[in-house]
Homo-oligomer: 332 residues x 2
């Protein structure tokens, strides 16, 4: 995007000020101008593509892909997440089942259950909904899933492959963010990307995919990436953010990303999902970004809800289809 | 380090210029001022520590740690590297052997050889000197080594563990750089670090260790990390470098890091090893950093040679001792 088209796009009023011997450009924004990145729409598109591919796959004589979720305990949020995954499976034509275990389930029982699913040639994808109860070792559970059925991409081998840019299951939320960037044609080559949040399943996988070489088996996106986190001083975050062509925030800190931190025209992707109480006493979902303010400066922005959120489930469907195809191909 | 001590340390001449309503400080450097980070000295210290620990270990009735290097082909540089590793083994009391294979060796023969060493309970560490001839798949070879004996830290499982900040073998050069930073008490918490070069065995492992949380099993160093590479435009590299408290360059690009890119007092670590021909026609080893110029601005700098170089072999010794102890502990 040239400066000219970007300027048009932002509908900014430019005031040229001749000062200190150099020409400076001040921008004044009068209304909300950023393009909304519509995660709901893209997620629907991806699910439609997956459905079409599954129909072809089944048409070729293969059985339907099958995803099994294991839910340990009664956490309402986890129940809701798993339910949404099952609904998506149904919509795209993936067989699915949720195995519900009591929150007192012993680790060994869970591991035995996982192993049974590993052995079951009718199962393509296995996911254990996190968090698991405290008496169960999360890492052990993640590594118990057959790496070929690990559609969440949490197994150490898949994590290692991701770091090597080898073909693997990329964790769904990180993959969803990348897909939004790709489908909105946001340039990344040689661009500056700031990632706020260094979680092992969102922030870090994005950093790995966005900074790396496009020539790998799992292609990278050739950006200069700055990884910021809770110990990045606010003035440093602002310094990096102001230079960023893309800012991705995945911190759970409400209003972390403010308008004065945004380079005009930048792309702002909000992975945060925070439940706040409004002045009227209502609860409301918001992200990490001051949407109202930032959307007056940014060129592209994801809303919350309806931005990154719907992408996670869509990419899980994508990963499950991939697992099904690979299992058949590896056995041939 | 406070501004005051840093100012003293740099022996700078400060000229206060009242301009544009604000006080600005201009620094003029008259001589080479940076502290030299002496990799030769630190490497000797680490080898002495490893030797002492091995003596105690053997004193407790254990056999000496044992490292086997496999060298395929006749590449002179590789021969020299392996030779240096063997010399270091001898110095610290590690049993060692180099298995030399012809450059026509078939992949399957190499894999069988590796498997034999995997099974050999008298072998603690196995390294295959890279590069291997083109007809051999490097990735397959790396993943053939038992992860518990993978003292180079190249196996996918060890790479995955590194990404998760789980205890593992950190690739020796990256570990060496971290060790230099630690032993010179260079602060990293909340600091800005620029890493130039995104290689999977140097740049990327450093980024993972430097940005991450200190509370993990493999503790991170809590810095804000910017990963730059060949597609980072020069003006962007300069922008990030000028703000960096630590710059680490591992690119093989001579004179990539210039004095005007350095924040006064910053720490500059040069992983590059480049052979150049001087005007007098002599060959000379230099790094990525304009040492002459940068050392007038930086607070700390590694020379080439004698900086990061000697650390690699020292950390390989460290990893081999670690492998030996873990194999005994895991079998108990």
């Amino acid at each position: 995007m040239t400066l000219f088209t970007r300027t048009l796009h932002l509908s900014v009023r430019l005031i040229r000020v001749q000062a200190r011997g150099s020409t400076q450009i001040h921008c004044k924004y009068s209304k909300k101008t950023a393009n909304i990145i519509d995660g709901k729409k893209i997620s629907a598109e991806i699910k439609a593509e997956v459905k079409k591919e599954i129909d072809q796959w089944v048409g070729q004589g293969h059985r339907r892909p099958c995803l099994i979720a294991i839910l340990v305990g009664e956490d309402p949020a986890s129940q809701k997440y798993v339910e949404n995954k099952m609904i998506a499976c149904k919509a795209v034509g993936i067989e699915s089942k949720t195995i519900r275990l009591a929150d007192t389930t012993e680790e060994s029982v869970l591991l035995t259950q996982i192993d049974k699913l590993n052995q079951d040639s009718n199962v393509d994808g296995i996911l254990v909904q996190l968090p698991v109860p405290e008496h169960i070792c999360e890492k052990k559970v993640m590594n118990a899933v057959d790496p070929q059925k690990d559609v969440d991409g949490f197994h150490t081998i898949n994590v290692g492959k991701l770091m090597a840019n080898a073909d693997t299951f990329v964790p769904a939320t990180a993959l969803g963010v990348i897909e939004l960037i790709k489908r909105y044609n946001i340039p990344t080559f040689g661009k500056n990307i700031v990632i706020c949040g260094r979680s092992k399943n969102v922030g870090l996988p994005m950093a790995l995919l966005l900074h790396s070489d496009a020539k790998y088996e799992l292609p990278g996106h050739e950006a200069t990436v700055t990884l910021c986190h809770r110990h990045t001083p606010p003035e440093e975050l602002e310094f990096f953010a102001k230079r960023a062509d893309i800012i991705i925030s995945a911190t759970g800190v409400v209003n972390l990303i403010k308008p004065q931190m945004i380079k005009p025209g930048a792309c702002v992707i909000d992975v945060g999902i925070n439940r706040i109480t409004t002045e009227e006493g209502k609860t409301k979902l918001v992200g990490d970004v001051d949407f109202e303010g930032v959307s007056k400066v940014a060129g592209y922005i994801t809303p919350v809800p309806g931005g990154v959120g719907p992408m996670t489930v869509a990419m899980l469907m994508f990963n499950t289809l991939k697992a099904a195809k690979q299992l058949v191909n590896n056995n041939n």
